[in-house]
């Protein structure tokens, strides 16, 4: 094996030899440098491999033949090798990336570049504290040298700020080091550690100075203005190096000197870390320049790492796992984003809309963004999971909350940025060129993230059972994306079908019911995909990702699997939603509610894990402490998906703007994931209360209010798809109410309503999607009279609304009847009153939907409209057939559901005599009602037909209208603001209080962020002042309080 010392030798040798090359030979000198970087990478990688696979022992290298303290010693261990590999790989990629710049600037720049990485390598390996200082200085001088690579005045002035700030910091470091030497008499770190200097009078100050200087090198908030300016102004290639390589080295240095400080250091580091994490991400909110945004995010991530280091006493032997996961994700993703920034070449994040001229770049950007936020399958996901579990286990609730809040804030600006990239206006934006040397590093780091993510999941042991088969299928679909729609559609349907076939025997009870909703539902809705022409680029991998997540939820046995699947589902659905027109803001709010909800779920799982060794979902069943809080956290988390009142504002836009066959997926299927989550939660945790306050009663009220508000909002919509979206909110309110009843009948109602909701919402969204496709508008009042043009679609909508309205004889009534019985049994009459009120309000929007679109006056521009395509109608009629079956034979639906509920709630079950259902209060025979109503209808119709069979059909305007004959359908079709009196009377109930509330919260936070960031006034002297004030304040904290070092 090649000794680590050769890394330094090669770097130095290369740097010196480069001086002999002439400028003309720049290609050769570049190759020479690249070879050196590659060899350094090879050496570190070789050691890493040895440590990981061959039980290599940590080795010490003594220079000049003496043992320390009489010589400088280097150390090569597992941790060193990980960091060296990471840094050198980034260096190698950065060198490739900077090919043009380095060649243009000549050999001097290449020398500096190599020296920077030599500095970073030595900084990691050295065990001599003065040597550490020297090479930190070399690294920062080299960095300052590289910043000049960009000739702009901004880069130059940023470089000046950088060098002033680092010079001050290293001055402090130097004083600290010499003071340590004074007390310890040695520069060898291992010796210094043994002396416990912090208990020596004065020694503590020395240690403090070293510690604070190293921390300041890591750019803690708020003493970091100089670093932000550099991130903004430097060439993105350099930004990547500073963010990924230098910061990683800095973290390692901190970890290296931490034993000198000993235990009291953890508190200071954790405190600084969390302040940095929160502060930096908060200020990132107001940032609209991409590079500076990346700077804020980098600093935020380093803050998170500091926090993790500070929490070492609580994280125990998991610390390294967590820290490496966060660090590797950060380094690769941040480097990748900086490199992408150099390709896109847009200062403003809005300008990143240009990126989707090449969808593959968008995939890469998505990879990095999701890795940063900590989504699966990236290492950061597993690290974050472990972090939260350990914090909860040690009862560090405040830390847990702060970390999640910080991550959430980071998610806000990252996803806003990503939204601009996917959906922002990109008409006037400049084209960009993609050079091979710039794209290779990006691709390598993205692939690295996936590979390391997979490797990381195997390390947890727990994650060994994660099901990667659906994810492989997604990759396969991405690979065949060039094929036409019908092939991919068939493959997707076959894939889902096959998966259902192989998993079907293992499923039972609720898992079976929801698997059928998810998978059979998926197949039925995918059928509509055949109506699309062309390639539908990128659609199928995303659809499959959502379904992979959904099926993962069903199959999950552990909390980790559940959370993994939940996040995968969120990614897939996010992309599906953002594919719609004008859906940028909606997708963002969907994502934020999802991420926020996911963090609540994560926190809930973490708290549930306290005192238990297993990670099985069953831990929820014997929670040791905080039970009501865990329940509330998880319930709110799941309710972000069911869009309960207060958490619903993402839904209408997201569903309404989605494509015609995506709307049913996200509305009819995705929302059920939340219902499934609630079911799992309630089954495991059972009754919960805060003191005497029953949480379920609150849930029942939330469900009831959601139902009333959702339905009322639906009644006031002009946009047909928005109407359906609000209707979904309302319907899930019923489901929540039913579940909250915690009785056989309540659950029967909730689950059967969920199934029925899946059916009619698919039906209606597909039908309305077909209409919108034909008439090219979603505004209902612009339609009218389409019954004669689209009769088949009309029949679907008609049946759909009868089911929604819950009018006998169709299957919607069953749900109402069960709910009545359930309420009488439970006795929660007031929320129940609201639920039934909501049921009646549903009539309003049902009627409006069918009237404004299909009845009334046909518009002139729609006289040539054709029926919806066959492939849109086919799934609708399949569902119609099932609805008719369930309506005529209600126990075909209710009996299996009842049996699934039986093991948990056996009391009050329905008694079935054929199709006659008997409860404790009443009875209902759906089959008979169908026959009776049918019979009466036929007789009456026969009578009418007998009397009036020769009725003459008249033209559109042949109506008795104030003795005039109207000629304009626009003025005759009464559809706009259809329920005006209702709005006048009750409109105040639906004034957008909740969206106003969230908007005010958001604006408030942004305003605070904007105020705080004014401290970065761009002046180098202010930045130095920040550094000095930072030192003073933390000196006081360290020595003033009870936490003194």
């Amino acid at each position: 094996m090649v000794g680590p010392i050769y890394i330094i030798a090669i770097a130095l040798g290369t740097a010196f030899s480069l001086g002999f090359f002439k400028k003309a030979n720049s290609n050769f000198s570049f190759a020479f440098m690249l070879f050196a970087m590659a060899f350094m990478t090879f050496i570190s990688g070789q050691w890493l491999y040895a440590f990981l696979t061959q039980q290599q022992e940590t080795i010490q290298i003594f220079t000049a033949g003496f043992k320390p303290p009489f010589s400088i010693s280097l150390q090569m261990g597992l941790h060193e090798s990980v960091f060296l590999s990471l840094i050198n790989i980034i260096g190698l990629l950065a060198a490739i990336y900077l090919y043009d710049q380095l060649r243009e600037k000549g050999v001097q720049m290449m020398m500096i570049f190599v020296l920077l990485f030599m500095g970073l390598n030595v900084v990691i390996m050295t065990r001599d504290i003065f040597n550490l200082f020297v090479f930190l200085e070399i690294a920062s001088i080299a960095t300052a040298g590289l910043i000049i690579l960009d000739k702009s005045i901004n880069a130059t002035s940023a470089g000046f700020k950088y060098i002033i700030a680092t010079a001050i910091i290293s001055g402090i470091l130097l004083i600290g080091i010499i003071a340590i030497y004074y007390f310890a008499g040695s520069l060898f770190i291992n010796d210094i550690i043994k002396l416990n200097l912090i208990y020596v009078k004065g020694g503590a100050v020395a240690v403090f100075l070293v510690l604070i200087a190293i921390i300041l090198e890591l750019k803690p908030f708020p003493a970091n203005g100089w670093a932000l300016d550099v991130y903004e102004a430097a060439h993105p290639g350099i930004g990547a190096v500073i963010s990924a390589a230098s910061a990683s080295a800095g973290i390692f240095v901190l970890a290296k000197i931490l034993p000198i400080v000993g235990d009291p250091g953890y508190y200071i580091i954790g405190l600084i870390g969390i302040i940095t994490f929160l502060g930096s991400n908060l200020l990132g909110l107001k940032q609209d320049k991409a590079n500076r945004l990346l700077g804020y995010s980098s600093i935020g991530q380093i803050g998170l790492l500091l926090t993790i280091i500070g929490l070492t006493p609580y994280l125990g032997d998991k610390t390294l796992f967590i820290a490496f996961g966060v660090l590797i994700s950060h380094a690769l993703a941040k480097a990748g984003l900086f490199w992408l920034a150099g390709i896109i070449n847009s200062e403003q994040i809005k300008g990143w809309a240009a990126i989707r001229r090449n969808p593959h770049l968008l995939v890469l950007m998505g990879t990095f963004i999701f890795a940063l936020v900590g989504f699966p399958p990236f290492p950061s996901f597993f690290a974050k999971w472990e972090l939260i579990m350990q914090l909860a286990n040690n009862d560090k609730i405040l830390w847990l909350a702060l970390i999640l809040i910080g991550s959430f804030i980071e998610g806000i600006y990252l996803f806003r940025w990503f939204g601009y990239a996917i959906k922002g206006e990109n008409e006037d934006l400049p084209e960009f060129k993609i050079q091979w040397n710039k794209i290779i590093p990006v691709i390598v780091s993205a692939l690295g993230l996936y590979a390391i993510g997979y490797y990381y999941s195997t390390l947890t042991g727990l994650a060994a059972n994660l099901n990667y088969i659906p994810l492989l299928f997604i990759i396969f679909l991405y690979a065949i994306d060039f094929l036409p729609v019908y092939i991919k559609n068939t493959i997707s349907i076959a894939g889902i079908g096959y998966y259902l076939y192989i998993t079907f025997p293992d499923l039972e009870e609720f898992r079976l019911i929801f698997a059928l909703i998810f998978l059979v539902g998926g197949i039925i809705i995918l059928l509509a995909g055949y109506a699309k022409k062309g390639r539908r680029s990128g659609f199928y991998p995303l659809v499959m990702m959502m379904f992979a997540g959904l099926i993962g939820l069903i199959e999950a046995n552990t909390t980790l699997e559940f959370f993994f699947a939940w996040e995968i589902m969120t990614i897939g659905s996010y992309f599906l939603i953002i594919r719609g027109k004008k859906s940028m803001t909606h997708a963002l709010s969907y994502m934020l509610f999802s991420v926020g909800g996911a963090y609540l779920i994560l926190a809930g799982f973490g708290l549930a894990h306290i005192g238990q060794s297993s990670y099985s979902l069953d831990i929820l069943a014997n929670v040791q402490s905080y039970a009501p809080i865990i329940f509330t956290l998880l319930a709110i988390g799941f309710m972000t998906k069911t869009a309960s009142i207060g958490l619903h504002i993402w839904l209408p836009g997201a569903h309404a703007e989605a494509e015609s066959d995506v709307s049913p997926m996200v509305s009819a299927i995705l929302l059920k994931a939340g219902v499934f989550g609630l079911i799992v939660l309630m089954l495991k945790m059972g009754a919960q209360s805060f003191g005497s306050f029953d949480i379920y009663y609150a849930l029942a009220w939330i469900g009831a209010i959601t139902a009333v508000m959702g339905n009322m909002m639906a009644a006031f919509q002009e946009d047909a798809k928005r109407l359906l979206a609000y209707s979904s909110i309302g319907f899930l309110g019923y489901a929540l109410f039913g579940l909250a009843l915690m009785s056989h009948l309540g659950w029967l109602a909730a689950v059967s309503l969920s199934v029925v909701h899946f059916m009619f919402k698919t039906l209606l969204f597909l039908a309305i999607g077909g209409v919108v496709m034909r008439v090219k508008t979603k505004e209902m009042y612009k339609m009218g009279g389409l019954i004669k043009k689209m009769p088949f679609t009309f029949i679907s909508v008609l049946m759909g609304i009868i089911v929604i309205a819950g009018v006998p004889p169709l299957t919607g009534f069953g749900g109402k009847w069960i709910l009545y019985n359930a309420v009488l049994e439970k006795g929660w009459f007031l929320p129940a009153g609201a639920i039934f009120f909501a049921g009646i309000i549903a009539f309003l929007y049902c009627f409006r939907l069918i009237h404004a679109i299909f009845l009334g006056q046909l518009k002139d521009e729609h006289r040539e409209v054709k029926e919806a395509p066959f492939w849109m109608l086919l799934p609708q009629y399949i569902i119609l057939a099932v609805i008719m079956l369930f309506s005529a034979i209600p126990n075909s639906l209710l009996k299996p559901i009842g049996e699934a509920i039986m093991p948990y709630f056996s009391e009050g079950a329905l008694e079935w005599q054929g199709n006659l259902a008997i409860s404790n209060f009443g009875y209902w025979n759906g089959e008979l009602i169908m026959y009776i109503v049918g019979g009466i209808f036929v007789v009456v119709f026969g009578w009418l037909w007998f009397m009036n069979r020769n009725a003459q059909e008249v033209k559109q305007f042949n109506i008795g209208y104030s003795a005039e004959r109207p000629s304009l359908p626009e003025t005759t079709h009464f559809a706009y603001n259809f329920f005006a009196p209702y709005k006048k009377a009750l409109g105040f109930l639906v004034s957008p209080i909740i969206s106003d509330f969230w908007e005010a919260v958001s604006e408030g936070i942004h305003a605070i962020a904007d105020k705080i960031r004014r401290i970065y006034d761009g002046n180098a002297q202010t930045y130095v002042l920040h550094i000095i004030a930072f030192i003073v304040i933390f000196y006081l904290i360290a020595f003033g309080g009870s936490y003194g070092i």
């Binding site: 003065f130 020297v134 200085e137 001088i141 300052a144 040298g145 000049i148 005045i153 901004n154 130059t156 002035s157 940023a158 470089g159 000046f160 060098i163 002033i164 010079a167 001050i168 290293s170 001055g171 130097l174 004083i175 010499i178 003071a179 030497y181 004074y182 520069l187 203005g225 932000l228 300016d229 903004e232 102004a233 107001k286 940032q287 960031r1013 004014r1014 970065y1016 006034d1017 761009g1018 002046n1019 180098a1020 002297q1021 130095v1024 002042l1025 000095i1028």
Partner: protein, 123 residues
């Protein structure tokens, strides 16, 4: 005056130089003066380093006539800080030179040495 020995004097001088340097860094608006402030700061640190390595009544760690060859350990001051300070001076030189390069570049671009004219990047 017994306490006011060489060790303390150099230490205090160093600290004063550091403070003056920081003061200059923070208050001067001229880029060159800021750099001078830094060099004062740096020099102060070097003096502090030397003073820490000094041991009373001993000579420089150079083996010549004044040093008893058999008692080197007890007759010279600690050589390590002196070695370190040499390195630090070299580094300080490099940093100062780089700073001045930057100042030069900035001046070439904007024809101004006023630090307030270089606040374009902020927030």
């Amino acid at each position: 005056m017994e306490n006011l020995n060489l060790e303390i004097i150099t230490l205090i001088t160093g600290i004063i130089l550091v403070l003056i340097g920081i003061w200059g860094l923070l208050t001067q608006k001229n880029l060159i003066k800021i750099v001078i402030g830094f060099t004062l700061f740096n020099t102060g640190i070097h003096i502090i380093m030397v003073s820490i390595g000094y041991v009373k009544n001993r000579t420089a760690p150079i083996i010549d006539q004044s040093v008893n060859i058999n008692d080197v350990g007890n007759s010279v001051v600690d050589p390590v800080p002196q070695a370190l300070v040499l390195t630090a001076i070299v580094i300080g030189l490099g940093v100062t030179a780089l700073m001045l390069t930057y100042v030069l570049k900035m001046y070439q671009k904007r024809k101004s040495l006023e630090i307030n004219n270089y606040n374009d990047l902020k927030w």
